[in-house]
């Protein structure tokens, strides 16, 4: 039985026809760490708030465990939330902040203090219990917000971009701390972020949203290896997957004049004579100009461990020649130069095909 499930959940904003969240069907297993990811405005925060009860549900339902909580106020849902701004009470000490929810719930003082101390120990905050938030660093404040959520011992954690306000280095550090904390506590967690790296590294499963619609929900590897549509393909992975329009010619897809041989299974799924070919930068090899997609190297990015080649080629499109960009990843310090004319050969197993109209993946 899923611990959290969205059943056709829909949310509208006043005066806007397109729903912020559109008939979302999503299930989160007990103890699972699910990440909601997507660009700004995709509805991920709204979804989280619907789960928390801070946002109304216009159609559909939200279930926690075996209870339909759609109409229940937040306090009856047994959830805890970590806000992007931490929402720490500026006039209360760390200890009072962490214990606030317990105080409201009239937990007796001894037990309250015991639980606060325990949570503080877990997060390394014992020596700060008497400080006010203004005198804490960003990372410490974030931990206080976590502490307040943990001490409630809720059924579900809701986290709304808790790392966005931290600097890059702290973000990486805290990321692992949060993930290991969640594993330790085993609490079902729904986590919102716009950063796909966070999503990939932290989530048991990741749900990708765009314009209020769920694009794909899968393990990180699943998203990476088998993106369900063009959007997911281009969103997950950095640098982004190359998405190139190709013309079908017999048993090949022709890109920039180069024919990419397709498997029988791939050919079977084709409809029409156009197809979108996706191939990740690490999925191409650099060969001679005539042996692969003929491109010109525009920029060479040398990182030492890797080298990225940003190339371009022209292809006939509607209304004349269109320039397309391709990125290739090669071993660091390879002898590639700007302006060189090379060929990029996609490896067969690295080729993804997408329907040019719907954007959906064409399964092998």
């Amino acid at each position: 039985m899923a611990d959290v499930s969205f059943r056709g959940a829909t949310r509208y904003y006043a005066g806007v026809d397109r729903p912020a969240v559109d008939r979302l069907d999503l299930e989160v297993a007990d103890g699972e760490f699910l990440v909601l990811v997507g660009p700004s405005g995709c509805g991920k925060s709204t979804t989280l708030r619907m789960l928390a009860g801070l946002e109304g549900v216009d159609e559909g339902q939200v279930w926690i465990g075996d209870r339909d909580v759609t109409a229940l106020p937040p306090k009856d849902r047994d959830i805890a939330m970590v806000f992007q701004n931490y929402a720490l009470y500026p006039h209360m000490t760390v200890g009072e902040n962490i214990g606030f929810h317990l105080k409201v719930a009239k937990v007796p003082r001894d037990e309250r203090e015991r639980r606060v101390r325990k949570a503080a120990a877990l997060l390394g905050l014992e020596s700060y219990l008497d400080r006010k938030p203004a005198r804490l660093s960003g990372g410490q404040r974030q931990r206080v917000a976590m502490g307040r959520a943990i001490v409630r011992q809720p059924r579900v954690f809701c986290m709304d971009e808790p790392l966005s306000n931290l600097d890059a280095k702290l973000r990486v550090q805290t990321r692992t701390q949060i993930a290991s904390l969640q594993r330790r506590l085993g609490v079902t967690t729904v986590y919102v972020t716009h950063d796909q790296v966070e999503a990939m590294t932290m989530g048991d499963r990741v749900a990708v949203l765009k314009d209020g619609v769920l694009q794909q929900c899968d393990t990180p590897i699943g998203l990476f290896a088998k993106p369900a549509n063009l959007f997911v393909a281009g969103f997950i992975g950095s640098p982004a997957m190359n998405l190139l329009p190709a013309r079908v010619d017999g048993d090949s897809a022709v890109i920039g004049g180069h024919a990419v041989r397709l498997t029988r299974g791939q050919r079977a799924k084709l409809s029409g004579d156009e197809v979108m070919v996706g191939v990740r930068p690490e999925g191409v090899d650099v060969v001679d100009f005539d042996d692969g997609i003929p491109v010109v190297v525009d920029v060479v990015e040398e990182l030492g461990s890797d080298q990225f080649l940003y190339c371009s080629f022209d292809q006939a499109g509607s209304g004349g020649l269109v320039e397309h960009a391709v990125t290739a990843r090669v071993a660091g310090m390879s002898p590639n130069e700007r302006g060189a004319k090379v060929g990029l050969l996609p490896r067969r197993e690295a080729v993804h095909l997408f329907d040019p109209v719907t954007g959906s993946r064409l399964e092998d």
């Binding site: 216009d58 106020p73 619609v213």
Partner: protein
Amino acid sequence: MTVADVGRKAPRRPKPAPGAGRRSPLRVLGMVVVLAFSAFNLLVLYWLIAASFKTPVEIFTKPFALPVRWFQLGRPLRNFAYAWDQAGFGDAFLTTVVLVAASSAAIVLVSAPAAYALTRLGVRGSGPLTNLIAVGMGVPFQTVIIPLFIGLSTVHLTDSLFGLFLVYVALSIPFTVFLLTGFFRSLSDEMEEAAAIDGASPLRTFFAVMLPLARGGLITALILNAIGLWNETLLAIVFLQSQAHFTLARALFTFYGAAEYQSEYGGLIAGVTILVLPMLVLYLVLARRIITGLTLGSGK
């Protein structure tokens, strides 16, 4: 995955968050009280304006009805005419306009440079000096009227509009300086520095750069002082004795006793309206500025 249906319309009002408590009885009661209060205020305004066109009998027996009698007699503005001529409100109006305009202008003229000096010229002790002046806001006028009266009478400036003018200007300085120091402090330094780099003299910088930047604050100070002085009564009572010199508030004060005696209630209310209406109009036009200005210092 899911394709949005064309033609699905958003509901007119998305549902509120569950348990938002919008309908709790306490809140409903609160809203009723608030609306009642607002209605009361509007009713007061209506009563005032309507009553200023009524006969005394109408005022007391039909307070909420529309005025009828004077209109029937073909003299709808009779109360106003009475107040204007017999009770001297016409002269008082002119006096008040001139006095208030001159005083407000003078106050700002004197306070703006002072506020500028205290906030931006970086002299040591500016802070405590500013506080010293601001403290003056807490001094009740009653504390100074006796010596001021004595002092002004020795230079024959009692019962004189000029004397009152001086008093008005001086006693408004604490508030105005306080208000303007807030404004000047909030201005960015870059303009000043740019002017200095361009070789402008400090005086020039003040007039050409700082004053225009602080225009909002200056106008607010002007308006707030104008309102305060228009309504000011105590000092006018102390320092003006002959009717020829009366301000509106002063005239109203004197008229009150006489009106009761003569049952000239219509004229009295017309007088009140003459006093209140200009401020009301000003308020309707400038409400936001007035409200922001008056509460600025308090809201931090």
